[in-house]
Symmetry: C2
Subunit: 191 residues, 2 copies
Amino acid sequence: MSRRTDTRDRMLSTAAELFHTQGYHATGLNQLLSAGGAPKGSLYFHFPGGKEQLAAEALAISGGRLHDVLRQTLETADGPGAAIETLIGHLAETLAASEFRRGCPLSTVALDAADSEPIRRACAEGFGSWQAVFEDALTGAGIAARRAGELATVVLAAVEGALLLAKTRHDTAPLRAVAAHLRITIEGELR
Amino acid sequence: MSRRTDTRDRMLSTAAELFHTQGYHATGLNQLLSAGGAPKGSLYFHFPGGKEQLAAEALAISGGRLHDVLRQTLETADGPGAAIETLIGHLAETLAASEFRRGCPLSTVALDAADSEPIRRACAEGFGSWQAVFEDALTGAGIAARRAGELATVVLAAVEGALLLAKTRHDTAPLRAVAAHLRITIEGELR
DNA sequence: AAGTTACTAGACCGGTCGTCATAGTTCGCG
DNA sequence: CGCGAACTATGACGACCGGTCTAGTAACTT
């Protein structure tokens, strides 16, 4: 059962990268394969479900990666308010450094491939896992469970929206505004 | 110079609709033309810039339409806090009634055609015009200009993010959470 | 009737995703 | 060790659809 090549992993890697920056429909199989140095036939060997399955798995990986970053940031930082500010700073940096190409790794695909159920589900799970991290951090800081859930939703929505605006405007100001707002909101909640 | 047909307008209309629900790359010219009952050759007569120009103009129309709804809602309602809640309720209804297809008319395209400069600009202008409406309403309610700008950014980001999450999850809860949060935030600011 | 403008049909070529017959590689078992 | 079965990999192929453009028809003007 052990694999002999890393083709499958390489494909997932390049797929995650391309879907992140271009979205689902804008990313062609040829581009994907040539970027990963893989022949066409291999795709349907490793991913019988074709492009759709490849995308769903790649999104799960992207979601997991950011989940880990989130968790680490929230554990390390000095309270959830500060953590979120740090985190947004990190997102802003990534976005600007990529000439405003690398925003949220899920949102582009979540919107442009919303009619594919497997893909939609993969994105929903990614978002859910991120929200859970926020929620845990908030309850950990002493906020009631019910309230923490709502607040985590607001945090995630605001960050996603700010990423969208920043990417569209080629300007990180929306991220900074949202970071400040969220920090104040959270710290106001903690007393 | 006077036109003899309404082909151009019909094309813009169907384009706005399809780009709204499917995004840029997922919408083919054939689908677009057959849906609008328009002949293929006409595209490059009416839109020499091709698909890209058609999209940019359609987005400007979509942006303008929502701009009008926003302005009217904010003028009619009893203060900006209530207005935003009403507005989000309206967005949630539209989204749910369309089986979670009709979210923000710009965001899908803004993300999946971000590398086209004309399209990016059209989206940025749409977002900007919406934000200006919020900003005016907030300053009109007595909030300082500088602060109103930041707050309007947060409002827009939160609403956009909530639409994204709601669409992906097939659940309007994020919209409700954000509506409640924004109302409280704004009304807290007004005293 | 001739000229000008408004519009349209369909051919075009490159690229789309997906399939398949075949080739190469590794392993279990006699 | 040697053989065959199972696993892995390959790229040519095809049916179709993508956006674009040229060559043409229809309508109005003078």
